[in-house]
Point group: D2
Chain length 373, copies 4
């Protein structure tokens, strides 16, 4: 693991996800630039000191030479370091698990995609919300044709986590997410926009081809854009909207997707992640529950407990790790894996982010999203 | 009443709304072009035959001369006849209650607005969804400042009523709503878009100043647009989205508004119209219920039953009639009435419809909504 | 109408219910013991002074002699006067609409039942909650066998309306509902217990045969029991529970019924009265919405608006009046009417109330409910 | 771990719970009576073969002599073996984590309680549903006095897991839960009744002192009781009801608790476990969400993710293990631990089960629950 030091929330999330199904073991790390901090984490995790590295470069170099080397590295640094870390490990012949987004520009993303393709190495991108069993059920029902032809898609990742000015913003020392000179106006799109974009693609199986983008700032005193709306066009002519926000007062994570076809519709909402609402044109509405007999085999495979035992955020995350471990164990590659997002998805995400920004900056016109293959 | 013959749903709706609070009496009508059909309705309603007219012109002419003339006429004809009927009665010195939308073009709307202003007569426009007590509560909370400055607005009227091809469409004899040569692509905007636009304005107290419009057709074989998405900008720089549809499979009426400010947010959903969700940035979420002690005086005034006795569609409609009767009884005018939408609201609605269409037809660019005063 | 003076909520509720469908006209009344107050109501309702009576006796006497006499009287006095008023009008040959409960003792109820049977007159008892379309849908699904054999029933009428000490209680002048010397400990059972009992019988089609009753007082300082729990046995060996309360803090009306069979279950909750949840053993859960194509003909018949237009408390009440008007218009009798509760239902309710009280007073043992035929 | 072989669901659940927070390591086991099966599990878990035992007796004997002995044993056998296994390990000086219920009779329970008290060893009983953060929040709010004096409690564990005849029942080879000669009519009470009883005690802080019990069978052909209803009296004179079922068609786990005091009420429902509804007599209702600023410190301490990241069944289970590890690490004892249920809670559960059965068998009368100290 690179990143994930003592104060990192996302590092611990990845570690919990690894442990849940016991298919992955964390055996080496460069958790922090401070060796001292790294060792604090190592001790907690019972990792031998010799596998703790001062930085990702020495880790890649050393691990790639060991006989008992790591199968994959987990990258949980701030977003703007993903590219260099991922690239270094891919070049060292090590699979990469990368927290989303893949990187901060489409050109970086294309390079990583190309490296992954050439090397046959896996880049697993943890768009964890598509790890929920009922999101799998949704994707399955769309592919089954239960909704008919998809016509309208509404996707939201409108979180309330930053609906008040953060402590670091008040002190004029904004953290990387809020810093206008680090990710700038792209921050929201990189952080939440790529989640929303991936969720829409994953459930519908359709790429977004055009976008009108709009950004604004909700919280007074904030230096970056914390709110965005988009109009979407999909490859099959379906239309849609996107709402992303970090400042939606009173929201929890606010991830919601609603898909309407000419035969039916479905809705999944992250505040109730183990149910899925489906309604055909003929009604009545149906509520599918995780773990019941009426969900698809795939959704059942991603469920540990039986009927009515809710699984949450960590299990959704663990589902990605579980799939990844199976693929690596079977010596497969990630290019065509259905089970988890890969570099291709990451590159499509960056193409979307850049198109959205271009549209916004050009005054809000329909803008093409670059096709990635 | 003009229109509202034996097969009219909306006519009976208005009549129920009149009766609920017993402040209005229906005493004259031109319910149908067929006198026979008109008399069927008259008999049911115990209206004297001498007050049944062959058409709206004769009705306006005759009634305006009677000493016991009607106070107001209720116009429930197809939308494209509203203008001529409303104009005729205004010119005859009679108040007008008009089902929405006011008419089919902004120029017609301006003319009616001008007539109303000059004459001092009331034009009450029955945007009935703003008649719900909890929509009043929402509007009150926004004005109280409970949400802080309004920053994002999401409004939807995405109904499933026409998510299958209608009988008349199959026969190539589409009714006026579905007929490409009557209202055409504006039909959806006139029918549902004006509702959504009014709801957003009513709750936030803000006018929409710019729009990006997008239209599409969900149901195969349909000759008109049955689905639309918009991006909105409001006068105070708030942003928003609109979704309107008559073909959202599995939806009921699908009217929902969510308003986010920098201090809190609220959500009202027509499938549960007697509750309102509010959440401040400090939480927890609060659910206000119609008829409880914690709602505003205004919301309580629009409630007949006590705690926990749900009121619905007809009571919301009746609230508008009740307000109107009070205003007419008090010899007030409708221009400044807070209690019900008036010609000014109708004209603003038409300005929005035309801007949305212009935006769509010009390829989806930000388009100014004409300001109406 | 007898009762329903200027301060009466329930009187106005009945009057709204009459007006909604325009099948009933209110033409005479003894609204109050004070003629002055009666005339206030009469004026509002445009009722001729000659049809306003000083008391129910003179009204029954005078009306029964008129050629244009009332078809039916509506009794909305305090509960402990229902018996004498209903009896008087039945003896005068006039149909009776009686607010629930029918009366305050089983012996009174039997007498009224006997009078109704002998005379062929209708006693329509306004257990209004069974007037909701989706309660009709529930009853229909049970009778269709969608739930299999009924095995468990949970019914609640746990309102929060009196969860604080009322003004009159504080002054030691409790109103009739709270007065220990008027209805006493039976008050809650008469007021809300009969509603819950009727709802359970109506939906399941099963009589309650045995009960264990328990009563308590929630609000400090209250002189009567304001809370009750019961265990139920039904005629087919199904089991169940009942919760009734006037002091369930934070509840609205709190009317809920859940029925479980060996093939499926359903739930209806009065805070969302136009939806019904059904789930078969094979799932998924289904949500039936009022006004959609998938509800039964009977539920559709009790619906005025189209898809997604919520109807509420007043429409449910109006449904009973509408049925009654049809029956009277067709010169039918109320004994076998399916459309509204009758004297037989009232008598069964009183038998239940008395069994519940006997069980409670005897220390909480299984107690037989007298069978009424 | 004793039990938890290859087919055991509950064994894997405990193991996931141990891993999530990484405070416990599973290092020895007697997973099955078949050594072969035990070794299958051991291999998956990377446990050395020397720590795999043929049965719990040899495990207790061997482990108690090792210097690196286990701190605690986890007992996940069928319920009727809990007593002998727990007793053996307590006598060997090893802490016990026991899946619920503690054992199958009050006399066994008292013996284990006495052993625990004398030895100072911990018996942690995994009533996992009280491990949810929002159940902690509920308990905290009750103790804060937010509800005033508790007056009515409704608790349910009405699962649908066995709403169809199970495969083994059809073959006349019922598993231990369904076997009339193993746990018999007590099975449902032991399995789900103890959960409901503990949840009610945990949230309210009140013991149940009297019960009326009723049992029945929903699924045709089943040899045991699969459904039960109870009336409850609590030590402070609060009243309540209990519903337990394994055959509630269409339910998920069906765990719900509603508590009403004279100042407010709360509701927690396991199908939405990271929200808690609270309503004071003054309203409006409030929805507390896990991970927000407005929940108590204790509820926050039991939450891993931030705002709006749902935690579920496994995290609730893990919370108990986390607390236990802290107590054992700190050399505390379990007698007074607030963080997890202990032998005393288990004994109170058995006292309740036996009282419920006595009440049912004596025809349904109020029956005292033996007080345990």
């Amino acid at each position: 693991m690179v990143g994930g030091g003592p104060d990192s929330g996302i590092g611990e999330t990845h570690r919990i996800a690894m442990r849940i199904d016991n298919k992955c073991e964390l055996i080496a790390g460069a958790f922090s630039r401070s060796r001292e901090k790294s060792l604090v984490v190592a001790k907690e995790l019972r990792i031998a000191g010799e596998r703790i590295y001062d930085n990702y470069r020495s880790m890649a170099a050393a691990e790639s030479k060991r006989e008992d080397k790591i199968d994959a590295v987990c990258v949980v640094t701030p977003t703007d370091h993903h590219y260099e870390v991922a690239k270094t490990f891919l070049e060292a012949g090590i699979h990469v698990i990368c927290d989303k987004p893949l990187c901060v520009s489409l050109s970086e993303a294309k390079e990583l995609l190309s490296l992954a393709d050439k090397s046959g190495l896996i880049v697993c991108l943890t768009h964890n919300y598509t790890g929920y069993a009922m999101v799998r059920q949704a994707a399955k029902m769309v592919r089954n044709g239960d909704l008919g032809e998809i016509k309208a898609v509404h996707v939201e990742h409108a979180s309330g986590w930053a609906s008040k000015l953060q402590e670091d913003e008040k002190k004029n020392e904004p953290s990387w997410r809020m810093n206008p000179t680090r990710l700038g106006d792209a921050s929201l799109l990189l952080d939440l926009g790529t989640h929303a974009h991936h969720l829409a693609r994953f459930v519908t199986g359709l790429d977004v081809t055009q976008v009108v983008g709009e950004l604004s700032t909700i919280v007074p005193g904030r230096a970056i854009k914390d709110n965005g709306h988009g109009l979407l066009r999909f490859e099959n002519e379906a239309r849609g909207t996107m709402w992303i926000s970090m400042a939606a007062a009173g929201n929890e994570q606010g991830i919601r997707i609603r898909v309407y076809g000419d035969r039916g519709s479905l809705e999944w909402f992250h505040e109730d992640p183990f149910h899925l609402r489906f309604c055909s044109v003929n009604g009545p509405a149906q509520i599918f529950a995780q773990g019941t007999d009426c969900v698809s085999d795939e959704a059942r495979r991603w469920t540990r407990g039986g009927l009515g035992h809710p699984e949450g955020y960590f299990e959704a995350f663990a589902n990605l790790y579980s799939e990844l471990a199976d693929v690596i164990g079977a010596k497969g590659t990630g290019r065509d894996a259905l089970g988890f997002p890969v570099a291709l998805d990451g590159a499509k995400g960056l193409a979307f982010v850049e198109a959205f920004l271009r549209s916004y900056r050009s005054g809000g016109t329909w803008t093409n999203v670059e096709a990635i293959q």
